[in-house]
């Protein structure tokens, strides 16, 4: 007896050994009913492959092109380094320092800045407040996690980094929705650096340096924005 599951694997030409394939092939040649079942299966399954395609949003296309352009230009100026700068510990320190800077910029600054009355709908203020609080908690917990990376085993480090990357992605999406594409971009820029920390790859010094530069630019921009009362994350 040849089951539907066996027929399915026969159709896919995958998951059956040579003997099983030969047995089903012989049965198909001898049994018209079995061949009819296979034909019906193929026809119906193939009908599902004609899937429509939705268009890519223009903003998404632009984001991809910008990300790729940034990556390719970054690699052109990057120069391989050796020794201390290739060590995972240095990368962990650099990533921790970078996140700490972000925490200072986006978290602590918000805490110490005197409240300013901002004109705008209550709904927007409420959403921004929840978003800011969430971001502060995330950055603080990220700092703690990064600080513990050096003492972590490789498995623990990989798990911690994966957690940070996953949460960064949430806040990057939230930042975009809050109209902060720059913050979203910086948060996403952590991903390759953190991945290299997790797997111990070297040659990310250029990326970290680029990220450090971007953070300084952002700091300068935020300092300028601090003078504007309506500034909201």
């Amino acid at each position: 007896m040849i089951s539907d599951d066996d027929l399915l694997l026969y159709y896919y030409r995958d998951g059956l050994d040579a003997t099983e394939r030969a047995r089903i092939g012989a049965a198909l040649a001898e049994q018209p009913e079995l061949a009819r079942r296979l034909h019906a299966l193929v026809a119906r399954l193939d009908a599902t492959t004609a899937l429509p395609e939705v268009p890519v949003p223009a903003a998404t296309q632009q984001r991809w092109h910008a990300a790729l352009a940034a990556a390719t230009s970054e690699r052109r100026v990057e120069s391989p380094r050796r020794g201390f700068f290739a060590q995972p510990k240095w990368q962990a320190f650099a990533a921790a320092a970078a996140v700490a800077v972000i925490a200072l910029v986006f978290g602590v600054q918000k805490l110490v800045t005197p409240p300013v009355s901002t004109p705008g709908p209550e709904l927007v203020m409420s959403h921004a407040s929840a978003y800011e609080n969430g971001l502060k908690v995330h950055l603080a917990s990220t700092e703690r996690r990064l600080a513990s990376l050096n003492e972590a085993t490789p498995e623990e480090r990989a798990r911690l980094v994966e957690t940070i990357i996953g949460q960064n992605r949430i806040y990057a999406l939230a930042a975009e929705r809050a109209g902060e594409p720059e913050l979203a971009r910086v948060l996403r820029a952590f991903t390759p650096i953190l991945e290299s920390v997790a797997d111990g790859r070297g040659q990310t010094a250029g990326s970290v340096a680029q990220l450090g530069f971007e953070l300084r630019v952002m700091q300068a921009r935020l300092k300028a924005d601090a003078a504007t009362p309506a500034k909201t994350l």
Partner: protein, 177 residues
């Protein structure tokens, strides 16, 4: 030969293939993730990973196919992480809509076609991903198992379950069961 390959994988080659083929990558990722943001992130991750690992590209497949595969793996990874986060950190979920209710999932529904999209909603994430990777993307069972971090037998059984459920909704093998 190596020089030729390396010279071919230049930034302009990536930009060109991005312009030409990103719609295909995006739709494939959308079917896997059922979330427009995750699909967009998966394509971006794939682009950056592919660029970062361009020296690994041997030219056996087209650059488009190579990035397509990386994007699908990224989509699977993002879906897995989202699921894990949802389980472990419920308090952080306020920025995410439930997949079945979000506009993104409706958008994904369009990418699957109404009939297949509706039918696939009855499948578990594993069943849906296995079916899409096997039937639509044509991956081998062992490749799917590796990507989904499971066994080949696990993939087979998910595939069998998926097809059985789809048979009901799509009337596959009509009159046979």
């Amino acid at each position: 030969m190596l020089t030729l390959l390396k010279s071919w994988v230049r930034p302009d080659a990536f930009q060109a293939v991005l312009t030409e083929r990103s719609g295909r990558w995006y739709n494939a990722c959308l079917r896997i993730t059922r979330d427009a943001d995750l699909a967009a992130d998966a394509v971006q991750d794939a682009l950056l990973k592919a660029w970062d690992r361009r020296d690994d590209f041997r030219g056996e497949a087209a650059l488009d196919s190579w990035i397509h595969r990386i994007a699908l793996n990224a989509a699977i990874d993002l879906t897995r992480r989202r699921k894990r986060r949802a389980e472990e950190e419920l308090e952080d979920d306020r920025f995410e809509a439930a997949p079945s209710e979000s506009p993104e999932s409706e958008y994904a529904q369009e990418a699957l076609g109404r009939d297949l999209g509706t039918a696939l909603q009855r499948l578990s994430t594993m069943e849906r991903q296995v079916f899409l990777l096997k039937h639509i993307e044509g991956w081998r069972l062992d490749e799917i198992a590796e990507s989904l971090q499971t066994t080949i037998n696990g993939v087979k059984h998910a595939l069998f379950r998926a097809v059985r459920k789809l048979r009901v909704d799509l009337h596959v093998w009509r009159g046979e069961s």
